[in-house]
């Protein structure tokens, strides 16, 4: 069954069969507290040459689905019924040995994070070639030639050289191309893409998506595209299924699902996709008044040692890595300033400088006073400028109760008398739409979104004039992201606090910010009013970023 060449009649019959069909499939995991259901009565069909999107938030069961199809389940998995058929063949009946023969040959997978899915001690070439040797019986030499061709098809300019490299010598995008080349190497019938762009930067992600679309057309492969990003999925798939708490709540063609969603959860998800044309921010302050000015701010990482400065000044200058260089901008009272860039662009460095966490060069002008170093930042400044971090798990001390965490700024800056702290904490919790009794909980008892609300409440407890939000929505699910963004806007409205919102999400920032600063390689390359985002005189990098995330089907559906 496994490696026999199908004869003509069978081939004709197979044409009718979908590449993958899942019928009434259910999966649970055995835990200490009894079986926990992961997938419930899943029905999913992928026709020949078709791409189906599977969209869900974290914990929805979308990854379990991928493992089920690949027959790669943990020992505590409990399949409670149904069928998974690859071109009509029941995968559930296959032995592990038969499955090993199918994996990589007839169906393969592309993973989320290429930096962990490649073996760090094996050359990239071998990692592609080994699949060809395993499944097509090629010799090592033949396999390397094939591997080079496979890599060339992914658009890598010098594939031969790339094959000789180790994973740590390649960039994220290059590594993902290697993974994709491996997946396509044996010309499989089905490829599962599990969030293949989530770990990549905006522009790289865009290239990988284009590559995906091109390869799909060239090879006519069938694909299952798993993602949390509804907007993104709408650009690559023919049909989409929305999965929520282990069950598929909606499926159909992209146009149908986005324009006429029947399920409440789907509508909620579509509503949460950021729409750059729908303004949800606070009103622009009528009289622009400067709050803090950054003047020629620079931050060096791995500064040269004294030895280098004395004996090799040229090399010392070269070895200096600038986290940020010559950044000048002003933050106005009551506004929301967006700072956008890819990872390593220096946007978080600027946040740290503003929060007094990073040594800097240049000036920080606050109310007519120029601060020239981190040491000059005093507690009054620190009270006025609060920061909220990206990962809510890491920014709350796991050993303190929520009440203690939110109450700390009140106590530290003497904002309310000591006996009023509890009452004020309750008010603040209510402000961020959390129940007052959360004060007695520990952070691990809260969900990610709730923890981020606590971090926001702590920042606003100080009654600051500026809150820095460093990628505060990046670690959250789409629907939670929207709620957190809404909350920030509401708090800004109520308190008049200015906000620096740092993000890589251009669509989101265009909904919120009055002005947008674009950073690249530590420098400020563009700074403009949000209404001018599409103006012709935008920096080419800004244009590239905007083009990488076009207005999507989902967003059009909102209008």
């Amino acid at each position: 069954m496994t490696s026999l060449a199908p004869n003509v009649i069978e081939a004709a019959a197979e044409k009718q069969k979908p590449a993958l069909s899942i019928r009434n499939y259910s999966l649970a995991y055995n835990t200490l507290n009894g079986p926990v259901s992961a997938l419930k009565n899943i029905d999913l069909t992928i026709g020949k040459g078709q791409t189906v999107g599977l969209v869900g938030e974290s914990g929805s069961g979308k990854s379990s689905m991928a493992w089920s199809i690949m027959r790669y389940l943990p020992p505590n998995a409990l399949e409670t019924g149904g069928a998974i058929r690859l071109a009509g063949e029941e995968l559930l009946d296959y032995t592990p040995r038969q499955m090993a023969d199918i994996r990589g040959r007839r169906m393969s997978m592309v993973f989320q994070d290429p930096s962990t899915s490649l073996n760090p001690t094996i050359r990239l070439g071998e990692q592609i070639a080994e699949v060809l040797m395993r499944h097509q019986g090629l010799t090592a030499a033949q396999a390397w030639v094939e591997a080079e061709a496979a890599l060339a098809r992914t658009g890598i300019t010098r594939p031969k050289e790339m094959l000789r490299r180790f994973p740590h010598e390649a960039s994220g995008g290059e590594k993902q191309r290697v993974v994709i080349a491996t997946a396509f190497a044996c010309e499989p019938e089905l490829i599962i893409f599990d969030e293949p762009t989530t770990a990549l930067d905006i522009l790289t992600a865009r290239q990988i998506l284009d590559l995906f679309n091109r390869l799909r057309e060239e090879t006519n492969v069938s694909a299952l595209y798993i993602s949390h990003d509804l907007g993104l999925v709408s650009r690559v798939v023919d049909e989409v299924s929305v999965i929520h708490r282990g069950a598929i709540v909606e499926s159909g063609s992209v146009a149908q699902v986005f324009r006429r969603p029947t399920d409440a959860y789907t509508r909620h998800l579509i509503g949460a996709v950021p729409n750059p044309d729908r303004w949800i921010g606070v009103e622009r302050p009528s009289h622009p008044e400067s709050l803090i000015r950054l003047e020629k701010i620079g931050v060096r990482y791995n500064s040269p040692s004294l030895f280098q400065k004395l004996f090799k000044p040229a090399a010392a200058e070269k070895s200096t890595f600038w986290g940020a260089r010559d950044v000048s901008l002003d933050i106005r009272k009551g506004e929301l300033l967006g700072v956008v860039g890819e990872s390593g662009s220096g946007k978080s460095t600027i946040a740290k400088v503003l929060a007094g966490l990073e040594d800097f060069e240049g000036n920080l002008d606050v109310g007519g006073k120029a601060l020239t170093s981190r040491k000059e930042i005093d507690r009054a400044y620190r009270r006025n400028v609060q920061i909220v971090f990206q990962h809510p798990d890491a920014s709350l001390n796991p050993r303190q109760k929520i009440g203690t965490i939110i109450g700390r700024p009140l106590k530290l800056y003497g904002i309310v008398p000591r006996d009023k702290i509890t009452a004020r904490v309750a008010e603040l919790l209510e402000m961020v739409r959390l129940p007052a009794d959360y004060a007695n909980r520990h952070p691990h008892q809260l969900s990610g979104g709730e923890k981020q609300r606590v971090a926001i409440a702590r920042a606003f407890a100080a009654e600051p004039s500026l809150v820095i939000c460093d990628e505060v929505t990046a670690a959250l699910d789409v629907s939670v992201q929207a709620a957190v963004a809404d909350l920030l806007v509401k708090l800004q409205k109520d308190t008049g606090t200015a906000c620096v919102f740092i993000t890589h999400d251009l669509n989101l920032i265009r909904q919120l910010a009055h002005r947008i600063a674009v950073m690249q390689h530590g420098r400020l390359v563009d700074f403009f009013d949000r209404d001018d985002a599409r103006a012709d005189d935008r920096h080419p990098y800004t244009k590239a970023l905007l083009d990488a995330v076009p207005v999507q089907e989902a967003v059009e559906a909102q209008n």
């Binding site: 899915s117 001690t121 699949v131 395993r134 491996t182």
Partner: protein, 316 residues
Amino acid sequence: MSWGYFIRRLFAVVLVLAIVTFAVFAITTVLPGNAAIMILGEYATPEAVAALERQLRLDQPWHVQYLTWISGIARGDFGMSLRLSLPVTQVVGEAFVNSAVLAATALVTVTVIAIPLGALAAIKRGTAIDLALGLFSYLGTSLPEFVTATLLLVFLAAPNTGPFPAGGYVAPWESLAGFGAHVALPAATLGLILMAHIARQVRSEMSEVLSSDYIRAARLKGLSERRVIRRHALPNSMAPAVAVISLDIGYLLGGIIVVEEIFAWPGLGRLLIYALENRDLPVIQAVTLLLATVYALSNLLSDIVIALLDPRVRYA
């Protein structure tokens, strides 16, 4: 491997050893008991003591003593043993060879057995093999050397009936059979604790590698389990295993002190205990320094091996 990396590591070793010489010197010079009196006996005349103190340079300030000592070491001169009236280099040299033979026998045997055992336990996680190794390794790490040694003696070296001699040493180049008989019990004693430790670490490293994303990716490529283990998992868990072995050389060097004492093995450990009992300062200093040097060099060696095994370190 880049030379810069090697030179940095070598420099670190030299620095560590410099600190060790200082620590050893500091500890040994504050040892109570006047060396001159110990050599001459309680009833020596004050003049004789003073004369010997001068001869031993004990009357000089400590930094002069340190510099004299350290410059002697630089020339390979560790002074004279106070008790044995022989050059320290000679006494320690012989003992070092004997200890090295014992330590190497134990280490090589253990490594050869423990690494596959640990890997096997990781692959067969939760099975009887895994459980047995777990029990064994807990037992091994909870038995002090002197208890293991004593129990081995009781059961395997009873006078006239036991298969092994209760102590002593025959060099391998004199009689291989005689060496084998004499080395078996001391090496087994040292081996037990090492084996327990190394096997457990290899198992835990291997388990971690086996649960990594790239192993999952390799399996999802349809590679045979044999290739997944041999080409993907094993090499990646070797680098940490080497690090563990080099740390265990520290245990081993401590262990030989007790083991040599119990089995009357004429090595560094036995020499050290003799020197400590007799306050033979130059010998104590030399042995301590030697053991620390061996340890530091084995760490250097392991760093180099790790760099050869792992491309990420190699080009760092």
